[in-house]
């Protein structure tokens, strides 16, 4: 039972000088693996030249204070304390921007790993804009740092799984006065928003996901899908998607296997070695995107949010352990939920890119778009495509907008 105050406080990121100094001290001592012929072969992992260059920039030229100021200026941020059943009260950091328009739709944007609230930055002005065309909807946007990420608090008890993340996000929306809302998410954001749809169907009026996670078809529950799979009745895009999915579930899954079984062991690396943290995340920023040209500053701001996070960079990977040790929650995410209208976006360089017929086993799909470019971090790589999806899905004429009570 929470005794936390309901207050919503404005928040400005203000990383202490000591943390910056400690980071630079560690980077000054950075020791890299010895160079061999294949040190820059991406197949083996994050390339040495890249990591060295980024680490040097992080130490010498990257200006966190400037990035911090820019974030504080462009992203209106707040904190509030949310109580979670069976766990402690958590101080939750979030971005919140209301639309310039009347009748806008409250939208909850949920990040994943190794993402953060930063991922809302490019889509925020577009979604909240009053300049959108008449039929196009506008949104009030809420983008939290999940517990254990960004500037939200750390959880300390085991058993903080998807259900609990969903509870935090839902309570946050209620706290902000949004009794009814829609959601957008990828990566863990998919899992969490789908769980919200399952447990709070009167509040979650619709969900758009850009990471379509389904079970492969089973002969018992979906014999036709199995037949389709066996006979290869897929479009070329869907076939390519399946290849990508296979890569992810096999060679691309090392980090998941570590994080879902021994997050504490990995945590020592992430906490003590900024170079280790940088490499661990940077590899994903490259491998999971569709030739997105990451600027060094972008990467370093992204990784700095992890390095300077309130919970510590090691805490973020526990979500994998907790979620996979609660298989019922996991199964719920991939089961059919007919109560919440669903929008699906497929980006070719995402990690799980399943055939459309599989996606439709998730629920009542009212919007679907298979894009021809883009990857896992849709709101960063192709913000205009993601915004177009949302504007169409929630448009009054183009989508379900007329059915929403806003």
């Amino acid at each position: 039972m929470s005794t936390a105050s309901d207050a919503i406080e404005p928040f400005r990121i203000a990383v202490p000088d000591a943390a910056l100094e400690k980071l630079k001290a560690k980077l000054a001592l950075a020791t890299f693996p010895e160079e061999v012929d294949f040190s820059n072969d991406r197949e083996y992992g994050a390339p040495l030249d890249d990591v060295k260059r980024l680490a040097t920039a992080w130490k010498d030229t990257y200006d966190w204070r400037r990035a911090e100021a820019e974030l504080n200026e462009t992203l209106p941020q707040f904190t509030t304390t949310i109580g979670v059943d069976g766990h402690e009260d958590l101080k939750i950091h979030f971005v919140h921007k209301k639309s310039e328009r009347e009748g806008a739709i409250p939208l909850l944007f949920v990040h994943g790993w190794p993402g953060s609230f930063l991922e809302v930055a490019k889509i925020l002005p577009l979604l909240t804009s009053g300049d959108a065309k008449a039929d196009e909807p506008s949104f009030h946007v809420v983008a939290p740092s999940l517990p254990n990420f960004g500037f939200s608090a750390r959880t300390s008890k085991p058993g903080f799984a998807i259900r609990q993340y969903a509870e935090v996000c839902h309570k946050l929306m209620l706290r902000l006065g949004y009794d009814k809302y829609v959601t957008q998410g990828g990566d863990w954001g998919t899992m969490i928003t789908r769980t919200m749809g399952k447990h709070y169907p009167e509040h979650v009026l619709a969900s758009h996901i850009n990471f379509v996670m389904t079970r492969p078809p089973s002969p018992l529950s979906s014999p036709l899908l199995c037949l389709q799979y066996a006979l290869g009745w897929y479009t070329p895009q869907e076939k390519a998607g399946l290849e990508r999915t296979r890569w992810y579930r096999g060679p691309g899954n090392g980090y998941t296997q570590v994080q879902m079984t021994k997050p504490h062991t990995l945590g020592f690396s992430l906490a003590d070695s900024p170079v280790g943290l940088l490499a661990w995340i940077y590899e994903k920023l490259r491998d999971w995107t569709d030739e997105y040209s990451w600027m060094d500053d972008e990467v370093l701001t992204w990784v700095s949010v992890y390095a300077f996070s309130a919970a510590g960079p090691d805490a973020s990977v526990r979500i994998y352990y907790e979620a996979t040790h609660q298989p019922e929650d996991f199964r719920a995410v991939m089961g059919y939920n007919g109560k919440v209208p669903l929008g699906l976006a497929y980006f070719p360089r995402d990690l799980m890119v399943v055939p459309s017929s599989w996606g439709r086993t998730l629920g009542r799909v009212v919007y679907e778009k298979r894009h021809d470019r883009g990857g896992h971090f849709a709101s960063v790589e192709t913000p205009e495509l993601l915004v177009a999806d949302l504007r169409t899905m929630f448009g009054k004429k183009s989508g379900i907008g007329a059915k929403l009570p806003f």
């Binding site: 400690k22 001290a25 560690k26 001592l29 950075a30 020791t31 890299f32 693996p33 010895e34 061999v36 012929d37 294949f38 040190s39 072969d41 197949e43 083996y44 992992g45 994050a46 390339p47 040495l48 750390r154 959880t155 300390s156 008890k157 085991p158 060679p251 691309g252 899954n253 090392g254 980090y255 296997q257 570590v258 994080q259 879902m260 079984t261 021994k262 997050p263 504490h264 062991t265 990995l266 945590g267 020592f268 690396s269 992430l270 906490a271 003590d272 070695s273 170079v275 280790g276 943290l277 940088l278 490499a279 661990w280 590899e283 919970a311 510590g312 090691d314 805490a315 526990r318 352990y321």
Partner: protein, 412 residues
Amino acid sequence: MADIRPYTIAVEDERLKDLKTRLSLAKFPDELDEAGWDMGAPLADVKRLAKYWQESYDWKKAERELNQVPQFVTNIQCEGFEPLAIHFIHVRSKVKGAIPLLFIHGWPGHFEEVLKILKPLTEGGDGVKYPAFDVVAPSLPNFGFSEGPKKRGFAMEQYAETMNKLMLKLGYDEYVTQGGDWGCHISRALAFRYPKYCKATHLNMDSADPPVFLKNPILALKHAITPYNSREQHGVTRSNWFDQEGRGYNLEQSTKPQTLGYALADSPVACLAWIYEKLHDWTDAYPWSDDEICTWVSIYWFSTAGPAASVRIYYETAHNVDGRKDKIDREKMRSWSPGVKLGFSHFPMDLAVRPSTWVRTLGNVVFEKEHGSGGHFAAWERPDDIVTDVREMFGKGGGAFGVVRGVTGYTS
């Protein structure tokens, strides 16, 4: 033989200072309440060890002790690769008919693992009551005080080639091996590539698949109808634990060794935690002392190739980076190796604990022993058992007696 030089471990003071500096700047994670060992190495343990390593542990003393064992270095070159300086322990028995035994370590192991069985096999083997052995215990390329290759593609074939060339260079035309972990896999590679030289392998890991009727009809039938004994039943539980909870490191090291390597190279705490978790999880309640652990991890931290290099063996074995034919992959290593005698010592807390019918698909198993306790690092945890088993396998009346031409382990 002129280029076999004596080797003395001598880590520079500068590196010791650097280690202590890094440890003094260590930043630790927090930990979940009541997590125990389930989620990985516990914070209290790692903090304690890091502090001990920084403030109290005496590497120079450990170094002196290690240097009491005769060590050497020599260049070995594999076809298509540059020559590598290979570090190894080499002790010859006083007995003329001593059997040459190559001890091969694994990951996260190293040459030190041979130390407890070294004297019993070489000196304790008197050639009358017990067979005598000459023991060679190298640091594998990329491990310990051996160099590592700069070229990609250094896989099981190359590890076997290196080991075989080393033994031949030391004058051993035929020899036997003892190993677990990668020592087991490399022994299998030796059996396939060099059955002319590697006559028998004693293994303490059950890397085998269930018998398939088309390949091993009798074993498959036996497997189908004979109930598992209690060791085999417990083995199912243990092997399942490893598959579900214990293999994360393996998949990461097999796919993105370079990414993982950055933390291992940069943070002694990362290196400590990554290895210490295995020293705990893979052993049978072995009472590791802080000194033992610090020496173990220090060998990785101060290794010639660096700790990041050691994990590449997983990637190279799992991938065929140059499209070579007849790659020795997992499937190959689990197939029948003709002409080489095999022995297995089963320890209950190893990682793959498989039924007898499974290991008998690998070749001519002439020795098999079940133990009631012990784990993955058998030569370290249960040296007496390994010594007894090796003596039994190769001694008079043993399944591999006289397997090496001209030497039986006994004075004639």
